[in-house]
């Protein structure tokens, strides 16, 4: 009896917390604070492992980035940090040119792409001994990224109230973030290098992956999937799954969770940086199913079609 009472109290306490508030606290804020901490650590050490940690925490921030939905001034901020799949310029060629130049970094690194995490990856992981200029560029880029990550953290901290208000709108933003992220994950991050996407069907090329120099693309994919799991998977805190479940879309929720789990399994099994492997093909299949499952859940949650009067005839 006592256990039952405790369970009921815990249950009530859990549900008393708004989904938006809980996601804010346990995912959004947690991730951005962690990203900033990891970045500051990297600034001090310039260590490759610390780059991995920083990159993974940034991927988590990027996956559930709601600042743009709440304030249009923040629409472009992720693009200042990350230029994966943005533009057609040859970033590495430009960076090599800047490395050889003697001009001030403020002048040479005027473009956002050259100050992005992708530029940072190239400079930190490119073969050969690191030059003084290279280190200077790394420090300069880190400062640039820090500035934008800090602005996201500041925004989230000052906008806490927004997450507990207008829950319907907030749920819509979360759903859209998951859908968009699942699409980019399957098409850009897996499909393009694996030659499975519409654009590059049967033309695999690992150079199209997100972090081809450091070969950390699998880690980026893992960070993204872990964020999906935090948002909609089984967690100790109230998350988006409560919204889906309360709309009666239990079956759809189960499907989504299953695909995230299976995608992670395939990723962990995949041979090191082999985008042509069977496991990556499986991963792509699971991610496609995940993306579709999100839409099916969305339709289940919206219940739009049952809200329409189905007149018999006239």
């Amino acid at each position: 009896m006592k256990t039952l009472l405790i369970l009921i109290t815990l249950h009530l306490l859990l549900y008393a917390q708004n989904v938006g508030e809980s996601l804010y606290e346990n995912v959004l804020l947690k991730n951005i604070v962690e990203a900033n901490q990891n970045l500051h650590k990297l600034e001090k050490t310039l260590n490759k492992d610390d780059f991995t940690n920083m990159m993974m925490s940034w991927k988590k921030v990027q996956t559930l980035y709601l600042a743009a939905d709440l304030d249009e001034d923040y629409i472009d901020t992720p693009r200042y940090i990350d230029t994966f799949h943005e533009g057609k310029e040859n970033l590495y060629r430009q960076l090599d040119r800047i490395l050889l130049s003697n001009d001030a970094l403020e002048i040479e690194l005027f473009k956002n792409s050259t100050k992005s995490i992708n530029a940072l990856e190239y400079l930190m992981f490119k073969s050969g001994e690191q030059t003084h200029r290279q280190k200077e560029m790394v420090v300069y880029i880190l400062k640039h990224i820090a500035q934008h990550l800090q602005s996201i953290e500041n925004f989230y901290k000052t906008s806490q109230k927004l997450f507990s208000q207008e829950s319907q709108k907030m749920n819509a933003f979360v759903m859209n973030a998951l859908i968009e992220s699942s699409y980019k994950l399957k098409e850009w991050r897996v499909g393009d290098p694996a030659g499975l996407s519409r654009k590059y069907r049967n033309k695999p090329d690992a150079r199209r992956s997100e972090y081809p120099v450091s070969k950390l693309s699998y880690s980026a994919i893992e960070a993204i999937l872990l964020t999906h799991q935090a948002v909609i998977g089984k967690q100790e805190f109230v998350n988006f799954s409560n919204v889906v479940r309360s709309a009666g879309a239990d079956k759809e929720l189960k499907n989504v969770r299953e695909h995230i789990k299976n995608a992670l399994k395939s990723l962990y099994k995949a041979p090191a940086y082999d985008f042509e492997s069977q496991e990556i093909k499986e991963l792509y299949k699971e991610l496609t199913a995940l993306h579709n499952a999100y839409y099916i859940s969305l339709i289940g949650v919206l219940k739009i079609t049952s809200k329409i009067l189905d007149a018999d005839g006239d």
Binding site: N171, M175, K184, I299, I304, S306, I308, G313
Partner: protein
């Protein structure tokens, strides 16, 4: 299609004979009869409510429920499935897009209005085809064979027509929803009252049940160019003008496609299909077995 229980007809706002819509229609009818006392006699007479045509409607209404559950619903694919297929088709053809700059409220308004317009437009055309295509007219005659009109006449529809209207619903609503989900994702929502599209809810509250009644409620001519009045629908049930006023809620389709008949253009009229076409039993209705009387 969602599950249906017989009681839902009266307690679900998704149904035409939802108690609130019946109540509001009764209220409007009371006000109408107050100003048209001469029409009280016919509207309150046992002759009308217990007319063989009306009692057949009641019996058919009860039996058609089971036909819908066992025959119609299993055949019709749902609007949800159509929405998913539409979204996937658009995504596969044009790739993923994120539309920004349209507010949540704007999307809600646009979606609510689009659903209503597309649904009403497709209803108009299917209804018109039910009249103009001889094969379909055979089945639609079931509805038009009613010699008196009661709100339950709305359900006097042959199962084949139910199936066609069900497909129309799933296709039109599913495609619109699929397109909007593709464009706006989770930002999609409907302006609804008690779970019903607000426009349809208001239409029903304003006496949609009087369309199948003998309350000759007419609107001003200019309004009848936009919305179908209850009397305009009664005109549609007449032996003479059944090829006019096909519209569900909007009269605009009738106006634009030249099938509009205003209330003031019609004097006395007879309802039904004439002496040669009527059905005596539920089985006759289902088997399209007409009797001469």
């Amino acid at each position: 299609m969602s599950e249906l229980y017989f009681f839902d007809y009266f307690v679900s706002p998704n149904q035409r004979v939802y108690w609130l819509y019946i109540l509001s229609s009764l209220l409007i009818a009371t006000i109408y009869l107050y100003f048209h006392p001469k029409e009280k006699k016919i509207n309150l007479s046992r002759k009308l409510w217990l007319h063989p045509s009306a009692t057949l409607d009641y019996r058919y209404f009860a039996i058609s429920f089971f036909i819908k559950i066992w025959l119609v619903m299993p055949i019709i694919f749902g609007a949800n499935e159509v929405a998913i297929v539409t979204q996937r088709f658009l995504s596969d053809t044009f790739g993923f897009i994120t539309l920004r700059g349209v507010s949540y409220t704007q999307i809600m308004l646009l979606f609510t209005l689009t659903l209503f317009i597309v649904s009403d437009f497709t209803r108009y055309w299917l209804h018109r085809f039910m009249h103009t295509i001889p094969f379909l007219w055979k089945f639609h005659k079931v509805h038009h064979s009613a010699k008196v009109l009661t709100p339950i006449t709305f359900y006097r529809v042959h199962p084949l027509e139910n199936i066609l209207f069900g497909f129309r619903f799933s296709l039109s609503i599913g495609i619109v929803t699929g397109v909007f989900i593709y464009l706006f994702g989770g930002l999609l929502s409907l302006m609804d009252v008690l779970g019903v599209n607000i426009i349809i809810f208001v239409f029903n509250l304003l006496g949609s049940n009087l369309r199948h009644s003998h309350i000759k409620l007419k609107y001003f001519k200019w309004i009848e160019n936009i919305f179908i009045s209850p009397f305009q629908h009664q005109i549609h049930h007449s032996t003479e003008f059944y090829n006019y006023n096909f519209g569900g809620t909007l009269a605009l389709w009738d106006l634009w496609f030249k099938t509009l008949k205003h209330s003031n253009d019609v004097g006395t009229m007879q309802l039904g299909l004439g002496a040669k076409n009527h059905f005596k039993t539920v089985v006759d209705l289902l088997l399209l077995r007409r009797s001469n009387a």
